[in-house]
Symmetry: C2
Subunit: 352 residues, 2 copies
């Protein structure tokens, strides 16, 4: 790796000249050009499974905004889908599985996955995007965390109260650990295949870690994430592949997260990023954390709030600017531009 | 007040011989006798507006379980309903308002409320329940926090992302403060009327405080709660009326909450109650915080988890046992009994 990317450097806490910026769901429905491709594709999963379409939507936001990273267009549920659970997206209802996992037998029956064979469309997309990016900015690969995948697999879809998956955990903790162990292996193999195909950083999305008690978070969600991290091949061609753990609603547990082996932690908008920096004590970089709803405010308000996040983190490397959660589909692209440009304009003084 | 109640004593950090216990939504759908009365009443609001029905369902859980407090059966949205927003409960959709608050004019137009005149059914229920309780256990009054009421009033109902109410806050912070000021007055007057009618403790439910950034939480939600607290008449007949603030998802901000003037803070299940006790430094009592989903596990697991919460808080007064959020409608009453009995059985050694 002879190139130097400020995104990678910030994650590894090397000096940068400005704060890098990208944002969750940057390839998405708020862009009219995305909606066009999505309509042509016919379904969300068809976008994911056709590498040339996944590549096209991955690149779209980069043509509009000065972003410092691209992120693979895909979905966290590709792994359970490859395991045979039968993923479907019902309009207005979110993802659901035809064959949820409910019993010891269901868990034992889950097959190991071979990422190149079973999820080749993802690796093909990674390779194609890398070729198209041509070294301009790095590409982030990602996966859902084992716990977050388990919530969808046991509930059979989205959930408000996580009754089924938590009841399984409370009632049969050994079964939950068995499920998470299987998923940890699959997630690690999947991310390693993305790295082998060209992903230059990887992020683990623990979207539902925050619904647990502190002790269950540590014993189940974080423990499984740690196992994923341990299996990752993060040295490649003499360079480092940085790793990011994002736990939505996990702001109370940053100290524990910072000891799980990841280079960086993602923060949602309920965290004070300055306090978070002090709490993790320089062990990890931080990524975040503007409230996505800020993007509905006028550009001058967006700029002020970007300034608050940058100032909140303070001077020095180790910060990647991002939203605290995915962008909403009804945001105006011009407001996104205000955010991105504010980071470009306001961050250099913090790195002198 | 010549009686001594362990619930009141624990909130005021006076010595108790065991940890008091009650739980959120203890009068509710998990009880078959509640479902019967609810069906006869025809609608949820009809239960609230008929004092004899509200009284009946308030008393139902006390006949089954050894609880240390009753809580008024009502809804947090009675205030905006009394302000003329037109509250309706659509089956499966939750509450909604026919006339949401969206503009400066809408906010200015909101009338002040006279609790005895406009919400007399609530005060009648309080008086009736007090008479029926006959001094056996104390009665808790409650209200929604100004911020939480504002979310429903601006969104027009429940929300996933709070886009409208947050956009109003980001775009026109002075309007949001004006709305919250009006609501702070109304909520304080409402709680004072409940106290005058006989409520022996009052609780403010900030169900949606946790969706804010730290700075917005302090400036809007907590500031409005502080204003409510300042106006409360908490001395009555020579005794103290304890006050409780519960912010769901507010575990990162306990220090700030502990300085808002309340006697106790409610904790959801994502908080470590032992750490919380150290963080608030003895300034306030704590109420909580078993994960409501624990009640789907077998009784022996429930008992272990109750023990964890009690041991987590540790020895001494200042803890009221509760769930970390409302009980779910599909819980078995026998599992509730296991929880309540575990508190009775396991807590006395902590108070010797």
């Amino acid at each position: 790796m002879s190139e130097s990317y400020c995104f990678i450097d910030a994650l590894l806490k090397r000096p940068v000249s400005r704060t890098p910026v990208w944002f969750m769901r940057q390839a998405g429905r708020y862009l009219p050009e995305y909606r066009q491709v999505r309509q042509r594709a016919g379904s969300f999963m068809s976008l994911c499974t056709h590498p040339e379409l996944a590549c096209e939507v991955t690149l779209q936001p980069l043509r509009r905004f000065r972003l410092d990273a691209a992120i693979l267009f895909s979905d966290i549920l590709t792994i359970p889908d490859a395991m045979g659970l039968g993923l479907a997206f019902k309009e207005g209802e979110g993802p659901c599985f035809e064959r949820p996992v409910r019993s010891a037998e269901d868990i034992e029956r889950l097959p190991a996955i071979d990422p190149e064979a079973d999820l080749g469309y993802v690796m093909d997309a990674v390779r194609l995007i890398r070729r198209e990016l041509n070294g301009k900015i790095p590409l982030i690969g990602f996966a859902g965390s084992p716990w977050t995948l388990a919530t969808y697999m046991v509930e059979g879809g989205s959930s408000r109260d996580f009754r089924r998956v938590k009841t399984l955990m409370y009632q049969r903790p050994e079964l939950m650990s068995r499920l998470l162990d299987k998923l940890s292996l699959a997630v690690a193999d999947y991310l390693n295949a993305q790295i082998a195909a060209g992903a230059q950083a990887v992020m683990l999305f623990d979207t539902w870690g925050g619904v647990l008690t502190p002790v269950d978070y540590r014993n189940f969600s974080l423990e499984a994430a740690r196992k994923v991290r341990q299996r990752l091949n993060t040295e490649k061609d003499g360079g480092r592949i940085p790793t990011i753990l994002f736990t939505k609603g996990g702001g109370q547990w940053l100290e524990a997260q910072s000891r799980a082996g990841f280079d960086a932690l993602g923060l949602d908008w309920t965290c004070d990023i300055g306090q978070a920096r002090r709490r993790v004590g320089g062990q990890v970089a931080l990524q975040g954390n503007l409230d996505p709803i800020t993007l509905f405010a006028p550009p001058e308000v967006i700029r002020d709030r970007v300034a608050d996040v940058l100032r909140g983190y303070g001077p020095g490397t180790g910060h990647v600017f991002n939203l605290g959660h995915g962008i909403l589909p009804t945001v105006e692209p011009a407001h996104v531009e205000a955010m991105v440009e504010a980071v470009h304009e306001l961050s250099p003084p913090l790195h002198r």
